[in-house]
């Protein structure tokens, strides 16, 4: 056993130095703790509420505290996403720094991985592993924010590139390449009546595939039970407007693909099909002909 022999009496100068060091150390601890705590302000103020990747933990009130607690900020979800929809938040999100989100208008999640790769990649379960299929996802809920601007609502078609030649977003077009998403800017449309939000809806595409007897990956479980969006007539002159159904998962493809600036259709993150159903069954319109 070694005994201490360094308990010599300290000189007044040494003692003063020790005291200065103690005060400085306390100040350092206080300052760094305050900086770390400042990171809680953005999340407490709700300023970090964002569209999150599929399976992001939230409670019945759509509170994402568990998600922020569980995320290890590694970005593996970013790396596996085939359309690169997932980004990591910056320090402006405070404690939400490094946490994944989706900017739907720039690049929505089109479920082109089919298997929810981000969920599978998540090492902590911040993207819940309970989620198996795109149709079970609850990211948000679409809303027709500017019905008057909707091309279909004016009886108009759409020809050309929906978001212009410089748009960087990508989508998987099954009929072009089953495995690789391509830039939306390389895929011109020629539509008599604009139905882009319905036509490109990943849920509607799956429903159509299932109706033809060819569900994604040959797995009937991939078939969405309910419609997400449909055009419905508003008058007898051929004008139509999109109506959101309870199958909507809030992936954001409709928001991304809408050719009108600013977009007619947006994703609300403070609602999902479940919360709407819980609030009142009548709030969600069951689209006619829905499965």
């Amino acid at each position: 056993m070694s005994k201490t022999s360094n308990k010599r009496a300290k000189s007044p100068r040494q003692r003063a130095k020790t005291r200065r060091e103690f005060i400085a150390s306390t100040a350092l601890a206080g300052a760094a703790t305050l900086v770390a705590l400042a990171g809680l302000a953005p999340v407490a103020g709700g300023g970090t509420h964002r569209l999150r990747p599929p399976g992001a933990l939230k409670d019945a009130q759509l509170d994402e505290d568990d998600f922020l607690a569980a995320c290890i900020k590694c970005g593996q979800c970013v790396q596996v996403c085939p359309v690169e929809a997932i980004r990591l938040a910056d320090i402006t999100d405070g404690a939400g720094v490094g946490v994944p989100y989706i900017e739907a208008r720039e690049q929505a999640c089109d479920f082109s991985c089919d298997g929810l790769q981000c969920v599978l990649a998540c090492p902590t379960g911040a993207l819940t592993h309970d989620l198996d299929y795109p149709a079970d996802t609850r990211m948000g809920f679409a809303r027709v924010a500017r019905p008057n601007a909707c091309l279909a609502g004016q009886g108009k078609g759409f020809t050309g590139l929906t978001r212009g030649p410089d748009f960087e977003g990508t989508l998987r077009y099954d009929e072009i390449d089953r495995w690789n998403p391509i830039p939306v800017a390389e895929h011109p449309y020629d539509l008599e009546l604009c139905d882009l939000c319905v036509r490109q809806c990943p849920i509607e595409i799956r429903i159509a595939q299932c109706a033809e007897g060819a569900p994604p990956s040959g797995d009937p479980n991939q078939c969405p039970p309910r419609h997400a969006i449909a055009l419905e007539p508003v008058d007898d002159d051929g004008r139509m407007l999109p109506v959101i159904g309870e199958g909507c998962v809030g992936c954001g493809v409709c928001e991304m693909i809408c050719p009108v600036e600013p977009t007619v259709i947006v994703i609300d993150i403070d609602e999902t099909a479940d919360t709407l159903k819980a609030a009142s069954a009548s709030n969600v319109i069951s689209i006619q002909g829905g499965a």
Binding site: A36, L68, I72, K73, I91, V97, T124, G125
Partner: protein, 325 residues
């Protein structure tokens, strides 16, 4: 074991204990006495140092370490950019060829904040624990952490400023790191957020390197400026809980730097280059209790002392037997 306890005491912030004469083995006492009788002249020492300065081995471990640090971080970047999927994720959590890895401190923060543990995280944490147990605990700091590298480079500016007497370096009590550790653990548990991760330059830098620059880098810049103008290597020395976590792992690790007192001239160059000089307290005259003494848990295994020692008194070893070259 007393040495183990002493190593943990120092890790938590205590000053090294000075052994009394009775604690030293007779052989060690004899060698110290011999050294006292054969005092070296200043010229001898200077000639020694000059010869060592020219030695090809002068920066051997540093160069190896920098190469490894850059390679590891580059592997993350290239895996993502070229989509080869060797290493996915970042330093907080990753998958290496499909195997889950999770940074021990980040995993701990999440367990405290989220209060659930999923199997993948447990697997990743256990893998990383075993990995760094084998590789030397705080060797994570000096061989992998990107902040360590930039702090090491900016440290040279700090030392130059101090040398020119433009600034006076400030030191803090090392125990403050232990205080931080407890504060961050309590905050994670109480607030439900991984509070430390918000300000962790390791996570911020690793993500910036892989996913592109962010505003969060300004915080890292602030820390570096603080280290340049106020306190040398302050983050690694006085704050970072990652270092303490890996230090605890390292206390049980077989890979370490070991000190042999026989040829040591007690010049103290090793302590000047060391991030955690208290682990080199044994190199001071009459402080080594044995001929061979392994350095404490707080040692980052950076090898700067091994490189700088002109007498080969400091060496990497594996579990007290094999010298690593």
């Amino acid at each position: 074991m007393n040495r183990f306890v002493e190593s943990l005491r120092q890790l938590l912030g205590a000053e090294p204990r000075r052994p009394s004469r009775e604690d030293l083995t007779p052989e060690v006492v004899r060698i110290y006495d011999e050294k006292r009788q054969h005092k070296l002249t200043k010229e001898d020492l200077e000639a020694n140092a000059a010869a060592h300065e020219k030695s090809a081995k002068r920066h051997k471990w540093r160069n190896r370490r920098w190469a490894v640090l850059i390679a590891v971080n580059l592997l993350f970047v290239l895996s993502f950019q070229l989509d080869v999927q060797l290493v996915e994720g970042s330093l907080t959590a990753s998958r290496v060829l499909g195997f889950h890895m999770a940074d021990l401190n980040a995993a701990l923060q999440i367990m405290l904040a989220y209060k659930h543990v999923v199997l993948n995280l447990l697997i990743g944490t256990a893998t990383v624990f075993l990995l760094w147990l084998l590789l030397g605990g705080r060797s994570f700091c000096s061989w992998v952490c990107p902040y360590h590298l930039v702090a090491e480079l900016t440290e040279k500016i700090h030392l130059k400023l101090v040398d020119k007497k433009l600034i006076k370096g400030r030191s803090f009590h090392r125990g403050v790191r232990t205080v931080f550790y407890v504060i961050f653990a309590l905050l994670a548990f109480a607030t439900g957020y991984t509070v430390f991760e918000t300000i962790s330059p390791t996570g911020i830098l690793s993500r910036a390197v892989i996913y592109g620059p962010t505003l969060a880098l300004l915080w890292v810049l602030f820390l570096l400026l603080f280290e340049i103008f106020v306190s040398q290597r302050a983050w690694c020395r006085y704050v970072c809980p990652i270092g303490l976590t890996y230090g605890i792992v390292g206390s049980m690790s077989p890979v370490r730097v070991s000190y042999n007192m026989v040829d040591c001239k007690h010049e103290g160059d090793c302590r000047k280059v060391c991030l955690v000089p208290h682990v080199l307290d044994v190199t001071i005259r009459n402080r080594s209790t044995d001929i061979d003494v392994p350095l404490g848990a707080d040692c980052t295994r950076c090898g700067l002392c091994v490189d700088v020692c002109p007498t080969n008194s400091l060496n990497f070893e594996f579990a007290g037997s094999k010298k690593l070259d």
